[in-house]
């Protein structure tokens, strides 16, 4: 575990260059270039707005501005989470020429896959800040929760990317399974709605470790309320445990990568 992290630190330049390559390649030879990074989160936020609007029309409850901003605050990290896992799952197979021909610490690939998606999240963050300025959401001390919540989300995404990347190297099925899971996961995660909609069944929804993080983000940033401490600690613990497990498993199977890919 420590060995793996030490090797990563020793190869931080490579991590940087590979991440930079992923970002660079993503927007090469596209007419809009980097504008895509802003457009994608905008589309998701717009979709969220429409869903919330439809909700309020059906239920007859008036639509609060905070509902809309909280959708924006949750949708962008969710988009990051999904993209990081989707991209991370394929990263080893996509880099098979590097895996089989040159030695680099292979952990670099899933991690840089997550980092390159993080770049988009940062850009989306700028867009959201603008939305919040326009809607006069305001700031409070609760914003201090942001690093922990986002950090935990990133850790969770990295853990899953590491696991799925190794798994899909051995079994190509994993790619399809992950794809299906990611497509339907939005129904089991309070992105476009709040977990409170489910009343007493809400804990079922919050058992998904992503849910408390997203809800926590919405409450800290938009509602200026302290996130639910037990649920947030549950998510943080889940992320940390999964990360350690993923790292251990990855290290164990790494020697067989070149001959099994």
């Amino acid at each position: 575990m420590l060995d793996a992290l030490r090797e990563l630190v020793a190869h931080r330049e490579l991590l940087y260059v590979i991440t930079w390559r992923e970002i660079r390649v993503k927007y090469k030879q596209s007419v809009m270039g980097m504008l895509w990074a802003i457009l994608m989160p905008l589309v998701i936020v717009a979709a969220g707005f429409i869903v919330r609007f439809a909700f309020s029309r059906i239920s007859g409850k008036p639509l609060a501005m905070s509902d809309l901003t909280s959708v924006a605050v949750k949708a962008a990290p969710w988009a990051f989470f999904v993209a990081a896992i989707r991209f991370g799952t394929n990263c080893l197979v996509a880099n098979s020429s590097l895996v089989t021909k040159i030695y680099v610490p292979r952990l670099i690939f899933p991690i840089s896959a997550v980092l390159s998606q993080l770049f988009d999240l940062v850009i989306a963050g700028v867009v959201i800040s603008v939305i919040m300025l326009v809607t006069r959401t305001g700031v409070s001390l609760q914003l201090l929760w942001l690093p922990l919540l986002l950090g935990s989300l990133i850790l969770l995404a990295t853990a899953l990317a590491i696991m799925f990347s190794a798994a899909s190297l051995f079994f190509r099925d994993v790619k399809y399974i992950v794809e299906v899971l990611l497509t339907f996961a939005i129904f089991f995660t309070p992105v476009l709605y709040d977990s409170s909609v489910f009343g007493s069944r809400a804990p079922l929804l919050l058992a998904n470790p992503v849910s408390p993080l997203l809800e926590g983000l919405a409450s800290a940033v938009v509602l200026h309320q302290c996130p639910s401490l037990p649920w947030v600690s549950y998510s943080v613990a889940c992320s940390a445990l999964l990360f350690v497990a993923a790292l251990g498993a990855f290290r164990k199977v790494e020697p067989y990568f070149a001959e099994s890919i």
Binding site: E13, L14, Y16, V17, I18, R21, R24, V25, K28, Q29, S97, L98, V99, T100, K101, I102, Y103, V104, F170, F171, R172, D173, P255, A258, E259, S260
Partner: protein, 426 residues
């Protein structure tokens, strides 16, 4: 010894033949069946094969060591183990310092990035820091000769430009141990020479080089010591020229002992009218006689002979089919003797004869014998290269020195730059 940079000790590497489970659909039934049969199935053991068996050797600092062996001898596997891409099934490998592999020099390239971006990317993959790359960037680009195209995406490069840039990055890494696999075949002659010079400079700079190549002359130029591998085992470790000789001899001995082939080329000799001979003059007639023997019936064969130069570069080939000899059919224990006559329009040098028995009209070989015979050509002094084009000087005109100093100087230097021309007039 204190200065051993690289030590390979009792290394074995096992691979599995055939396809193995790349999808869960295959794995689940396989797991179930092995669960019920208990332990490792016999089928699995039959599918395993050892690419390397008990390989041991060590390399001292500043030494250049070649690895020689036929296809499937395990050369590439050794390099992959040394880089850490794979781990040995048994045994240990110890490498002191930074290893850089010039194996797949363009593996790290990304098609959509420009040459400049790829230099940074590939440099980082090969273990250079960004600062190092920035410092040596101009040098790398100049070595590849791609100054004008460095901001073009590499997908628009020709394959030669692509490979040159790859080699150039790899050659500037300054590793403690440099692993080179069959890459010097990229680029034109000048670039290849630059590569060999660069390798020699790396060795002179105190780095250690492990060199794998089928180009044995190049290997002999770079390496003092070599390891001969055969079917995954170390056959010999010693001075490179002795190892190369042993490698050739092993090929011929194997052939005589090989009882498994259904049809076999047994003897290839070169001769002139008076009898067997290995030294010929340019322009004389070269006779090549090939004997073959069949153990079982073989229909529709054609006998191919090929002449290659000392770099194994094909100079010429022909076959009985193209010469109007028709298809050859041999019954069990029948023998074949074919004699060819060639006008030897080759320049001076050493050449090898390769002989193949192919299925008629296809390239499916029944038997192939490389370097079955060797012969030397004593060429005329006025021609160098591979072929003798029988040159004649038909005019040598030096213009009158009337139009000033500049011209006359140019005229003076022109014969000097082609010594053959000036020599033939004196």
């Amino acid at each position: 010894m204190a200065d051993t940079v690289l030590e390979v000790k009792g290394v074995c590497k096992k691979f599995r033949r055939g396809e193995f489970h790349n999808s869960l659909r295959d794995l689940v039934p396989a797991l179930m069946s092995s669960l019920f049969r208990g332990g490792r199935s016999q089928e699995l053991e039959r599918r395993e094969f050892w690419a390397l068996r008990d390989v041991s050797f060590s390399v001292q600092r500043g030494e250049a060591v070649g690895i020689i062996g036929g296809n499937g001898a395990g050369k590439s596997t050794i390099l992959k183990l040394l880089t850490g891409i794979m781990r040995p099934t048994m045994g240990s490998i110890r490498v002191a310092g930074r290893v850089s592999a010039v194996i797949e020099i363009t593996a790290g390239f990304h098609q959509d990035l420009t040459g400049r971006e790829n230099v940074y990317l590939n440099g980082a993959i090969l273990g250079m820091t960004r600062q190092e790359i920035r410092r040596r960037f101009d040098e790398i680009v100049a070595f590849a000769g791609l100054e004008e195209f460095i901001d073009t995406p590499v997908k628009r490069y020709s394959s030669g430009m692509y490979a040159r840039l790859g080699f150039s990055v790899a050659a500037h890494v300054d590793p403690d141990v440099l692993l080179v696999d069959e890459v010097l075949s990229v680029g034109d002659y000048l670039f290849q020479r630059k590569c060999v010079e660069r390798m020699n400079a790396v060795i002179a700079g105190g780095s250690t080089v492990i060199f794998v190549s089928h180009n044995l002359r190049e290997l002999a130029n770079v390496c003092h010591r070599s390891v001969l591998l055969d079917k995954g085992r170390v056959k010999m470790v010693g001075p490179t020229d002795e190892v190369i000789m042993a490698y050739y001899r092993a090929g011929q001995k194997d052939r005589a002992a090989d009882a498994e082939r259904g049809v076999l080329i047994t003897e290839v000799t070169t001769h002139d009218e008076s009898g067997p001979r290995v030294e010929f003059e340019t322009g004389s007639t070269l006779g090549i006689t090939v004997h073959a023997r069949a153990r079982t019936r073989h229909d529709d064969m054609t006998l191919v002979i090929q002449i290659v130069d000392e770099n194994q570069y094909p100079v010429f080939d022909t076959c009985t089919q193209r010469l109007g000899g028709g298809a050859i059919t041999l019954d069990g224990e029948q023998t074949l003797k074919c004699t060819f006559e060639l006008d030897l329009n080759l320049a001076g040098g050493m050449f090898y004869v390769n002989a193949y028995l192919h299925r008629y009209l296809t390239d499916l070989p029944y038997d192939a014998w490389s370097c079955a015979a060797t012969f030397f050509v004593k060429g005329p002094v006025e021609a160098r290269g591979i072929v003798a084009l029988h040159p004649r000087l038909v005019e040598r005109h030096v213009s009158a020195a009337a139009s000033g100093v500049l011209h006359s100087r140019r005229d003076d230097s022109s014969p000097a730059s082609s010594p053959r021309r000036s020599a033939s007039t004196t």
